[in-house]
């Protein structure tokens, strides 16, 4: 059941970082609700002065049958490791593969555990919720070893996930990690559903606070707090200008469920206003 032979030609390795018993933090670029995964990865890369250490060769895992573009820019699938030796942390910022998922996830853990001596894996995700941007964000967690439950109970705003259904790639990664004896925790901060396509600094801040505490990171949360304040102020202006939106947000605050049309209206209006 253990690790299979590592295929070294799957990687372009720029540096073998000196890490010992460190943590791997994974963020997925695809379906990144609230831009939680990518913002945290970018903030960590910059804030901890991480350097790129390796790429996974995308050829086996992504379809090369054309070029995707976003905002007029051609996109190339990314699957890159970054490291901060000082903070004993490895980051993996990646698109979700579209084929050979098991081999891809195995490659991620091959590099992390065999080259970088990582023994814990964290994934950053987000889950839409019927809350407003004024409410505190809980982090729902999935973990891959019974003993991690007690460890997670020590943190504020953390709740255990209940789920039976299609697996996300993060759950698949945790499962592969468990087969190799690696601990894994997926973090699913709640985001107000209407911020799914926008950045949710509240969820990002809550998640970053958890990572700071859990991984002893020195990440400065001040900038995130000011981004959250900015969002709150903008939303306050929207509420003033738009009575319908104000009423819909009132409903959520009073725990009245919105119907599908109301959810759509709120999401569209917030998106329009924020852009």
């Amino acid at each position: 059941m253990g690790a299979e032979t590592m295929t070294i030609d799957r990687f372009n390795i720029y540096k073998k970082p000196l890490l010992q018993g460190g943590s791997l933090v994974v963020g997925w670029q695809s379906a990144d609700l609230g831009k939680v995964g990518m913002t945290i990865m970018d903030d960590l890369i910059e804030g901890l002065a991480c350097e790129p250490v390796a790429d996974i060769d995308p050829l086996d895992f992504f379809p090369f049958d054309g070029a995707d573009f976003r905002s007029n820019l051609v996109q190339v699938p990314e699957a890159r490791f970054w490291a901060s030796e000082e903070n004993n942390i490895l980051l993996f910022k990646s698109d979700e593969p579209s084929q050979q998922h098991y081999q891809f996830l195995t490659s991620v853990l091959d590099f992390a555990s065999e080259i970088c001596n990582i023994n814990k894996v964290y994934t950053i995700n987000a889950v839409p919720s019927m809350i407003t941007h004024m409410q505190s964000r809980k982090i729902l967690t999935v973990y891959n070893r019974e003993g991690l439950r007690d460890e997670l109970q020590e943190y504020d705003d953390v709740e255990n996930m209940e789920w039976e259904g299609p697996p996300a790639i993060s759950s698949y990664l945790l499962w592969v990690a468990r087969r190799r004896g690696l601990d894994g925790i997926s973090l699913w901060p709640e985001i107000p559903f209407y911020l799914s396509a926008l950045e949710d600094p509240g969820a990002i801040r809550t998640t970053m606070l958890f990572l700071n505490q859990r991984l002893f990171l020195p990440f400065d949360l001040e900038l995130l707090e000011s981004r959250d304040d900015e969002l709150v102020q903008k939303m306050a202006r929207l509420r003033e200008q738009n009575t319908e939106i104000n009423e819909l947000l009132d409903k959520i605050e009073n725990e009245v469920a919105l119907n599908e049309q109301e959810q759509m209206t709120l999401t569209q209006e917030v998106y329009r206003f924020m852009n």
């Binding site: 084929q99 998922h101 098991y102 081999q103 889950v127 839409p128 967690t141 999935v142 973990y143 891959n144 070893r145 019974e146 439950r149 997670l152 709740e159 255990n160 996930m161 209940e162 789920w163 039976e164 259904g165 299609p166 697996p167 996300a168 759950s171 698949y172 945790l174 499962w175 468990r178 894994g184 997926s186 699913w188």
Partner: protein
């Protein structure tokens, strides 16, 4: 990538009986029912992750308890001194998004099944599937055989209600068996292993619906009972047939009258064959929109809360 064997069995020239899902799930229904009745016991499986994506995750109180993949399982039963290996795949591996297995991934699975069978001394393989035919849904489906050798064909011809592919149409026994139920035959023949595919007839229009067709699975199971020289109960498949017949007849009642009239002529055909080009065109013209509307109804109404975790 590999086969995990939970038991070390010493078998004597076992016969291998395989099935993967396909049209009407005829092979799967027949083989699984037979396996269950004979109380065959699981002794191994093919590791799924190189072939399949996980279907489901179970997270309870935060703990990732289980990741569920489609199973590909080997079973064994000694039946009156005769060793039998059953292999059932819950899905066909389809790396390129097709319903049926093809290409490298399909060959890999076929090889793994045959490697395991050969390790246990197997020299004969059966697969099972569907033969799309111009039959009426209330007539008893025949079993159509394709084999790896003339001697196997001669042997199969002794089975009641079984015909060779060349006996049922214009194609002189030419055709293609799609997916692993066919591919395994070719892979077996290449290794010098005897191989037969037993296909239950299914009416053309039903081959494009999502329903199982237990009526044909019964015919295939009857053939297996003769081959294995054993008695089996058909109660389960008969009950399923009753249930599915209700749905089929409900649909049939909605056929346009001119289609019904032509279709009813099939009852009197003594030797209905595979679908000719003309029949296929006719069916397409008259029933495609109708069947598509059924498919749309089936596809709709998905669960809103099906986000992956």
């Amino acid at each position: 990538m590999g086969v995990i064997l939970h038991k070390n069995l010493r078998l004597e020239s076992p016969q291998l009986i395989c099935s993967w899902p396909g049209i009407g799930n005829i092979g799967t229904l027949a083989v699984s029912t037979l396996r269950t009745q004979l109380d065959a016991q699981s002794f191994g499986e093919i590791e799924p992750w190189d072939f399949f994506e996980p279907r489901k995750v179970v997270v309870k109180d935060g703990l990732l308890e289980e990741l569920v993949f489609p199973a590909s399982t080997f079973y064994h039963r000694n039946l009156g001194g005769q060793d039998l290996i059953f292999f059932t795949g819950e899905e066909q591996p389809h790396g390129d998004g097709r319903l049926y297995a093809s290409g490298e991934v399909a060959l890999k699975m076929a090889d793994m099944v045959l490697d395991t069978a050969e390790q246990h001394g197997c020299r004969r393989v059966y697969t099972s599937g569907a033969c799309v035919s111009a039959v009426h849904h209330e007539t008893k489906p025949r079993v159509v055989a394709v084999a790896s050798s003339e001697s196997m064909l001669a042997e199969m011809k002794r089975i009641p209600n079984l015909v060779l592919m060349s006996e049922i149409g214009e194609g002189a026994g030419d055709g293609v068996i799609t997916g692993l139920n066919g591919l395994l035959l070719a892979a077996a023949k290449k290794r010098g292993i005897e191989a037969v595919c037993l296909m239950g007839e299914i009416p053309d229009w039903l081959s494009r619906t999502p329903f199982p067709y237990p009526r044909a699975a019964r015919s295939v199971m009857e053939a297996f009972a003769v081959i294995l020289g054993t008695e089996v109960s058909f109660d389960f498949l008969d009950r399923q047939t009753e249930e599915v017949d209700k749905i089929i007849n409900g649909l049939y009642q909605q056929f346009p009258p001119d289609v019904k009239e032509l279709y009813e002529q099939r009852r009197s055909l003594s030797q209905p064959g595979p679908i000719s080009r003309e029949e296929a065109d006719w069916m397409k013209e008259h029933l495609d929109d109708f069947l598509k509307s059924l498919g749309d109804e089936q596809d709709g109404g998905g669960d809103d809360d099906d986000r992956p975790v």
